[in-house]
């Protein structure tokens, strides 16, 4: 009970997610809501790395793509059960992230951005070129998600699954931030030398949060693969990585709820603007620039500072 009192946001989120299906008019609206929930979960993980620890990643769609394709390949070609494939994909992604993390996270600023960008591009190229496995640019089909004989099918089922995952991910992230490990991550962002002086093993914590966010991206990639049923290399591509980072920045660095707003806005905006016929990318760009000019710290932190307790 105390926990709910100290975390009203979590209660509000749960209530919104519960009520939302009753307001969704059609299958299209469900589809958008599911995509928002999937993106938001990835972005919450990415924000732990970018917003809280202050380490940029421009290659996170690569991990999302590894999860998506690994699930698709393991289930459709090797006949693995989807849940086992999802877990194996996450473990494999975590291993990959762990292997590259140490050399990569020694870099700072622009160099780290370049290295993660390169990693994402390598993954994307592998997916395009390994046509025997992935279908290359033509894409590949992914089967339905089933566990223990039950299949997740239909918009409603997918909505409840992804909304539930989002709620759990939000809870886990909030818990992590409010803990010794979470404070260590934020201290690395605030002052790396000061965090070392109090005994924080900065390399180990950077590696941990990188692996954690990569594994989460992989899990969401697996779910995405089963949801859409058909994958193309774009899911692992550079533009998807940029889109994910933009969601972090628009929603607000170092704000878990900001991630959900950022994901919602950037997922819905292109759809809402599609009536502008040809001008939607221009309008999209203008909206992003205006956000950065007027809400430089992102949506949620700026509004909280203006209307909330005063503390950013």
């Amino acid at each position: 009970m105390n926990y709910l009192k100290s975390h009203p946001g979590l209660v509000i989120l749960a209530a919104v997610l519960l009520v939302l299906p009753f307001t969704l008019p059609n299958a299209y609206a469900y589809d958008v809501a599911i995509r928002v929930a999937i993106n938001a979960s990835v972005v919450i993980g990415l924000n732990l790395l970018v917003g809280y620890t202050g380490q940029i990643s421009l290659g996170h769609a690569g991990f999302f793509g590894v999860g998506a394709y690994a699930s698709a390949i393991l289930t459709s070609r090797w006949g693995w059960p989807p849940v086992a494939a999802l877990a194996a994909a996450a473990a494999g992604t975590a291993l990959l992230a762990w292997l590259v993390a140490r050399p990569i996270l020694k870099l700072k600023g622009h160099y780290l951005a370049m290295a993660t960008l390169g990693l994402g591009i390598i993954i994307s190229i592998v997916i395009v070129n390994e046509t025997d496995w992935t279908g290359g640019p033509d894409g590949m089909a992914a089967g339905a998600l089933s566990a223990f004989g039950a299949e997740v099918s239909g918009d409603r089922a997918w909505y409840w699954l992804t909304a539930g995952v989002l709620l759990v991910v939000t809870w886990l992230a909030l818990n992590l931030i409010d803990s010794p490990a979470g404070r260590a991550l934020q201290a690395i962002h605030g002052s790396e030398v000061a965090s070392r002086v109090v005994g924080v093993d900065t390399t180990a914590f950077k590696v941990r949060v990188f692996v954690l966010s990569a594994a989460l991206a992989s899990v969401m990639g697996s779910l995405y693969a089963h949801y859409v049923g058909f994958l193309t290399p774009g899911v692992a591509g550079f533009f998807h990585s940029i889109e994910l980072v933009t969601m972090v920045v628009v929603g607000g660095m170092a704000s878990v709820y900001g991630c959900i707003f950022g994901a919602a806005i950037l997922t819905m905006l292109p759809q809402l603007l599609s009536t502008l016929e040809g001008w939607e990318t221009v309008a999209f760009g203008v909206i992003l620039m205006a956000t950065m000019i007027f809400l430089p710290r992102g949506l949620v932190p700026t509004l909280r500072a203006r209307f909330g307790k005063g503390a950013p």
Partner: protein
């Protein structure tokens, strides 16, 4: 407690610290003074592992810790503050202090995510302890503030609270009075004395001579990276070399 033997640090052709040796005994306040560019901060960065010495030994509790990174020194209960503030402006004031207790808490990411009860209990106790420490250094009224809302003088104290949260045996303060006015300097002097009285060995780099002379049991004077003089406040004050270094050779 701390023994420096023939410590040297060169940056390219410049020797910032040259063949410096001295001893710091437990429970004392030891000051390092000298004109600007004398190598005081470099010496601090060598002792605390931020720089690796070119040669020489640093014996901390009889163990050679020269070249050991800061996070390892923290485990051996050495802590420090910084001349240019290193407070985490992205965090609340009390979280900054709690970071200081990092090594005494459960650092597991998974236990944290699932709100492991033992971790939560220890964290709650740590928060209370951090609030007490903020009172101890005199910034108790900022207990609910964000670090970015605090004035400069309070941030300097907050850094001391964070260092104290690590429960150090030795605390190195790099210019704790820099940028403070007379009243604030007097307050920080009282605070350093309080810290020393609580059983922590204090090493001080400071330009404010009044504060140094009032507090120090022992003073080391550096000039151009070399040891110029050493001794009690009275001895150092009477030393002709020190007077020459500070006021010019003809004085």
């Amino acid at each position: 407690m701390l023994e420096i033997k023939n410590l040297t640090k060169s940056f390219g052709g410049v020797t910032a610290v040259q063949d410096v040796s001295f001893k710091i005994s437990e429970g004392t306040i030891h000051s390092v003074i000298g004109p600007n560019g004398a190598g005081k901060t470099t010496l601090f960065n060598l002792i605390t592992g931020v720089y690796t010495p070119t040669s020489g030994e640093i014996l901390f509790k009889s163990e050679n810790v020269a070249g050991m990174p800061p996070e390892q020194l923290a485990r051996r209960r050495m802590s420090r503050t910084f001349q240019n503030l290193q407070v985490c402006m992205n965090m609340s004031a009390i979280d900054n202090v709690m970071v200081g207790a990092h090594l005494r808490l459960d650092q597991s990411v998974f236990a944290a995510m699932f709100r492991w009860p033992a971790l939560r209990r220890a964290d709650k106790a740590c928060r209370e302890e951090a609030a007490q420490l903020m009172d101890f250094v005199g910034v108790g009224k900022y207990a609910n503030a964000h670090a970015s809302q605090m004035p400069y003088g309070a941030l300097k104290r907050l850094e001391i609270a964070r260092a104290m949260a690590a429960k150090p045996q030795i605390l190195l303060l790099d210019e704790p009075a820099a940028g403070l006015n007379h009243t604030e300097t007097a307050e920080i002097e009282a605070l350093i004395r309080k810290v020393a009285d609580s059983g922590v060995t204090v090493v001080l780099v400071e330009h404010d001579m009044k504060l140094v002379m009032n507090l120090s049991h022992h003073i080391l004077v550096l000039d151009y990276g070399k040891k110029l003089a050493e001794g009690s406040a009275a001895e150092v004050r009477a030393n002709p070399d020190v007077i020459a270094a500070y006021l010019g050779a003809s004085a």
